[in-house]
């Protein structure tokens, strides 16, 4: 079955990248679940997966899947009356970091989700503006504009955070 063979090829080529993308933003189990969910969607919509560069399409699905899981998690927490949300805390993966790295992470955590994802798609996933634009559903030019603004806001947040951290005040870190 040709579609099945192509699907298996797609999985072998990109499942690692999808897993890494999800793992950078969630725990190990969630990342594996996201990989399965993403490729099930790909199987159901095989005709929509771009043949030449499928990774942005797959990452776009992974991004939506993670967002849905996060929303479901927030709803569940809210129902249990245990919701805690700290804007200063980065929604990032595990990272035992130096003070400097932690400053970078906290500065990232202070950005809006859109700004943070814009930066991470380029810095962590190594995507071009065209690929990253496809992941978030905007044109390459729009993404480049967003990237430029996100950089500026990150630099401001990073500068402010460094100024705060000069007296070696350790920020609280709460994982969502």
């Amino acid at each position: 079955m040709e579609g099945r063979a192509w699907f298996e090829q797609l999985y072998r080529a990109h499942a690692g990248a999808v897993r890494t993308y999800a793992r950078r933003r969630s725990d190990a189990q969630t990342a594996e679940d996201v990989v399965a969910d993403v490729f099930l969607v790909a199987w159901r919509k095989l005709g929509e997966v771009p043949g030449d560069d499928p990774l942005p399409w797959l990452l776009a699905v992974a991004r939506r899947t993670l967002a849905n899981r996060r929303r479901a998690g927030v709803r569940e927490s809210a129902l249990r009356g245990r919701l805690r949300f700290d804007r200063s805390a980065p929604v990032l993966g595990p990272h035992a970091a130096s003070d400097f790295d932690e400053t970078v992470l906290v500065a990232l955590g202070r950005l809006s989700e859109q700004d943070r994802e814009t930066l991470l798609l380029v810095a962590w996933e190594g995507l071009t503006p065209a690929q990253a634009g496809a992941v978030v559903g905007v044109a390459p030019n729009t993404f480049s504009t967003r990237l430029s603004r996100a950089r500026q806001r990150f630099e401001r947040a990073f500068g402010a955070q460094r100024a705060i951290r000069v007296p070696a005040a350790k920020p609280t870190s709460t994982e969502l």
Binding site: M1, E2, G3, R4, A5, W6, F7, E8, Y11, R12, A15, G16, A17, R19, T20, R23, R24, A31, E32, V35, A36, F39, L40, W43, R44, L46, G47, E48, V49, P50, G51, D52, L92, G93, P94, H95, A97, D101, V104, L105, L108, L119, L120, V122, A123, W124, S148, R151, F154, E155, F158
Partner: protein
Amino acid sequence: MSDDTIELIRGVNPFPVELPAPAIEPLLARVDAEQTTPSRDRPRRYGGVILGVLATAVTVAVALAAIVLLGHGHSRQSTNQHRQPAVPAAARQLTSILGVLRRPQTAADRDPALIGQLSRGAHNKYTLGFEGRPVLSLMRLATIAPWGQRIYVVPFLAPTEQAKKRLPRKDQGVTVASTAGLATYPVTVGDGIPAEIKGGRDIGNGDYAHGEKPGSRWVMVVPDGVAKVALWPATGSVAQHPRHPTTPGSKPIIVTVQNNIAAFHAPGFHAPGQEIWYRSNGTIVKRIDNANSCGPPLGNCA
């Protein structure tokens, strides 16, 4: 500091090296399960064993009655239609005249190479601006041509105003179809808009592969109800006779239609002069005089 910023953020990447892919087998098991699982599983509620048996008996009786009343074919068709994705409104003019687009899509219809080709086009501003967007849910393997090639049909939605504006300025004035059209692969035919199909003008020989002379492999799209097509080749100089007069007494090419496609191999055939369309019972559906393909050998005929 802009590139430094990206470097700074790259430096805190918690997983700088790509992780290995999880094993594929559990996923394939889920894929297989999806293929064999019925589309709607009714949850069973048992008040007790007797109630369960009674419920099953009633269900079986109702199902048997339905089969007897409606017949196998009808019930199967209804189920398949229910599973098919909705047809875009713009493509309904095509689905209403082409039965090949109304039947359920199967795995054989979804050629991965063609899907890849169409997907690449879906990101190309020229394809989007000139041809529009393909409707992959309506992609069908229509027939296998006499020369062994699989012939696929894919409707395209007309280019949007936004897509046309993305074309280079010099191309923005080019007239493109304003309605959905049917593309054929790998043999390119005409515009594929309903008016062309109904007028017997959606015929072409756009496949120049395999060292064949241009013009030897022809594909024509015809609407529902046409079982056979007779074509009389146009003769004489195309330049002198833009409406392609047919030589009286010349022999027609007779082609059987399969899934709205008439595919035939005719070396030396340049354009149809006259066409007669026949129903399956032999009666005439339509007679077309001065048919004008405006295909590749002819250029753009007015």
